[in-house]
Amino acid sequence: MTSKNDLSADIVIVGSGVAGSSIAKELASTGASVIVLEAGPRIDRQHILDNCRNTVNKNKYDEPYPPSPWSMHPPDQSTPNAYLHTTGPDAQAYQQSYLRILGGTTWHWSACAWRYLPSDFELRSRYGVGRDWALKYDDLEPFYYQAESMMGVCGPDPKVEDLGSPRRQPYPMEALPLSYAAEQFKKLIDNRTAYRVVHEPQARNTRRYDNRPVCEGNNNCMPLCPIGAMYNGIHTVLHAEAAGARFIDNAVVYKIDTDASNKKVTAVHYYDPDKHSHKVTGRIFVIAAHCIESAKLLLLSADEKNPNGIANSSDQVGRNMMDHTGVQVTFMSGLDSLWCGRGPLETNVIDSFRDGSWRNERGAYLVHMVDDNQIDLATALAIDKGYVGKDLENEIRYGASHLVRLFSHNEGMPDPDNRLTLSKTHKDVLGIPHPEVYYKLPDYTVRSCDHSRKVFREIMGLMKGSDPRWTPGYFPQDHPAGSTIMGHDPKDSVVDGYNRTHDHENLFIASSGVFASMGTGNITLTVAALALRVADTLKKEIYHG
């Protein structure tokens, strides 16, 4: 009989988010044995929602997910350095937020499901800056569609609104209608500026999909879609389980073993919450544990054969940390009421700055007019100004209907100095070091942010805006990438064009860690597409390899 201490499978996956669970689902469907190790616990929607309803500060979207001691995650952006420690000139701009629980971080996300532009994969060739990926848009196109079908993505008809990423099939679902506020914003931008507002592709139901309901506009995508209309990684986990994959929760992987030749990974070891160690052997291993945790695990597994860590002969593991670090402003519109906060959080984007010849010197970006409910902020502002009684009510009503929030996703740039290391001072209850990141915003991104601020001012002018509140410095977008960067050359990259590590032939990495450029769209769809491409490679590997 197999004891829990002696597990084995064809495919062993670390991490159960959208990347890990989609590989598990694909491989288990072919009959392969699959074990997925997840550091955090198994949770269900109703208990998180109960937490959501009870929290005081609804804007802290990590609050309903209090971490378990053995699977810490950053509590939220406003509580820095509680788990993810950041240093350097722009330390505050790298306070990323993510979840370590079954199903991963897409429990709370805004469901923006962008494909990258073909140019995003060829930044060096086209603009002479940054790096090229070791794959091209066309290599990923079929997997983008597979990811869109798996997650259930709605988006505009490419003939009506071309988002710049060529498609062989239409979106699986029709685009989400714009909210009233977004419609007004679109009219203004389309008519009065040289820019345009487009429907954002969203992993959110505009019809019944995968037996999940249509979005009811609870405006609660973060911290949690209360009805399952938005895609969460847990949906793929449940499908993968139905297909026969085994998910082990509360299993914190802390070590990766290789064979004598160091060419192959032989096992991973994990701690359960009581710090009992378990070993899992397998044929193929996939690290799909989020950009930050994946790099942390590789570094943590350093041994005599791999003194810098697993898959790290290039010394690039943990380097090139990127994000869509952006700028953010909230202001009071002087035009008619908008009443932001009806419908989902994000429905529209200004996509006019996603590409251009200027990308040789400054980063691209996109702008969200965030459609979130403004009552919280309106109330704080009205109380600050000293209103009481009926006047207070009127002022809150005015603020809630006129406040507008804009933020940008600005293109990062791989810089080896922006580096993740293991903390020497902080350890979790299992004795595993916390991650630490040094971050200085690349000049390329600074220039992009400067440009965004100019455009925001222009928009504020058009909207007769007043009382602007700029988020000090730069705004983290929780899209970390680059920690296990992709490239052709094993000397300066960690994985090849198939996400296979250069150093170990049966070790793959499925996470935004492999991104060689940052682009502008939210990263999840590209993570999912890359993961499905890994699944495709693994199928060939185990059945014909």
Partner: protein
């Protein structure tokens, strides 16, 4: 009885000859093509009205190709391919074969159908209507080559010949003398209700042999976990307080705001059948249903949709979160709050346009039978009318939204009936488990092994004695 039947058989033959003669004459005329067209149209309409597609089409399957598992207390009965494919369908059926299957429950090969096929209702079909149906199935339906899956019931229900005895007792409907085109008013309504739509197949209670109790006609019946409610003219227990127009709206859309929504089998009946009928037919049907003799349940003190909005409650929050690896058991109110309120509202108001219904003034929740509430939670709702879909997700064991335990569903249903309906339904986890498995098993299924001990003929004798006894009690209770 046998004599009467043979008399009718002869009468049918005479009718057939006359109709055949009529057809021969019309075939000679130049209007032959148009005649066939209109016959095919009539056949299609009748097939819609008889809702053949609902059972004879598998989820995501080809129309009429069969393969749907129909839950019955004896086990799953798999519907068959009724497309005109020669090998796997009914392409090789003559019109007489077709009529025999529809009205006697006998296949071309002589095998007996189970009464999941409502042949006791279709027995009332007029000969000319069968002709139109036959033509429609043979000429308009696309043949699909798809082999039938065998239905595997436990002994003794796997012996199809047993149905001979059953048919002797319960197959007693006679074919209508007038065809659908020439029926009007209440007669047409009755034909729609009893023969085509076979309302009583679900809405009439069943006797110990699982045949419809005539004395309980449309008085409500449990059905695979669901409960097909009382739709007699009783004001408190049935639909006596509904206007004819409201019934028609319900048939057309599955929805009457402030009263009822169609779920489960009724959602299918509305989607596939009722919503396709003409307004005139729906009015005839509604008028007929409205005059069905009332069956009153003395526990119903008011109509099930007449429990109105509860007092608005204040929503106070603790400000505390619990660690997600240590979830605490939630009570009914919290389960409601975290699974239902995001769409139906904290106070059960539904959406302002009532696309999402209120939970008060809602027949499912005001019913004394909590089955439909539980089944709706377990299976969700799916209804498609004119391309517009109404959908509520399932909270059952395959849900991607939330999988609720038996205990959770019991607490939730008790809370919902307590707050929005006629009072706490006092369900326990074990009740939910029973409903999840398709409801309580009827007497015959539960005690079949005991009954079988008596063996052979004795078995049949005992059954018929029990039947007579129940028939008498039925009459008595009907009289009282």
């Amino acid at each position: 009885m046998a004599k009467t039947r043979s008399f009718f058989a002869q009468f049918r033959n005479i009718l057939a000859i006359t109709t055949g003669l009529g057809l021969a004459i019309s075939a000679a005329s130049h209007a032959a093509t148009t005649d066939t067209d209109s016959l095919l149209q009539k056949g299609e309409y009748l097939a819609k009205a008889a809702d053949c597609v609902a059972c004879h089409t598998a989820p995501n399957g080809k129309a009429f190709a069969g393969g749907l598992a129909i839950t019955s207390p004896m086990g799953d009965i798999l519907s068959t391919n009724i497309t005109p494919d020669n090998e796997t369908g009914i392409g090789h059926y003559s019109e007489d074969d077709f009529a025999r299957a529809l009205q006697r429950g006998i296949r071309k090969d002589g095998g007996h159908l189970y009464p999941a096929m409502p042949y006791t209702a279709y027995a009332g079909l007029n000969k000319a209507d069968i002709h139109a149906l036959y033509l429609y199935f043979m000429k308009s339906v696309t043949p699909v080559s798809q082999k039938n899956q065998p239905t595997k019931l436990d002994f003794p229900f796997n012996i199809r010949a047993l149905m001979m005895g059953w048919n002797l007792l319960f197959l007693n409907e006679q074919p209508a003398k007038t065809d659908f085109e020439h029926l009007s008013g209440l007669e047409r309504g009755r034909y729609l209700a009893d023969t085509l739509e076979h309302c009583s197949s679900c809405h009439s209670p069943r006797n110990v042999f699982m045949a419809e109790k005539k004395s309980g006609y449309l008085g409500g019946s449990p059905l695979g976990g669901w409960y097909a409610p009382n739709i007699t003219s009783s004001p408190n227990s049935g639909i006596g307080h509904w206007s004819e127009d409201e019934l028609v709206t319900y048939f057309k859309t599955g929805k009457v705001t402030g009263k009822a929504r169609a779920g489960g089998g009724m959602a299918e009946a509305v989607s596939n059948s009722l919503s396709h009928l003409s307004d005139q037919d729906l009015h005839d049907l509604a008028r007929y249903i409205k005059q069905v003799p009332a069956i009153n349940d003395r526990y119903d003190s008011r109509p099930r949709d007449q429990y109105s909005a509860p007092p608005v409650t204040t929503d106070l929050r603790s400000g505390e979160t619990i660690r997600v690896d240590r979830p605490i058991a939630m009570d009914g109110a919290a389960i409601y709050d975290n699974n239902c309120a995001s769409c139906h509202g904290g106070d059960g108001n539904g959406s302002p346009d009532q696309h999402i219904p209120s939970l008060y003034n809602n027949s499912v929740i005001g019913s004394a039978q909590a089955n439909n509430l539980v089944m709706t939670i377990l299976n969700g709702v799916q209804r498609k009318i004119d391309g517009q879909e109404v959908f509520m997700p399932s909270f059952g064991d395959k849900s991607l939204v939330q999988r609720l335990s038996d205990k959770d569903i019991a607490s939730l249903a008790n809370y919902v009936t307590g707050r929005f309906g006629r009072g706490d339904a006092h369900l326990k986890a074990v009740d939910i488990a029973t409903i999840r498995q398709g409801g309580a098993k009827p007497f015959l299924v539960r005690y079949i092994s005991v009954l079988m001990l008596t063996g052979g003929l004795g078995f049949l004798l005992v059954l018929s004695l029990i039947y007579r006894f129940f028939k008498k009690t039925d009459r008595k209770s009907a009289q009282s």
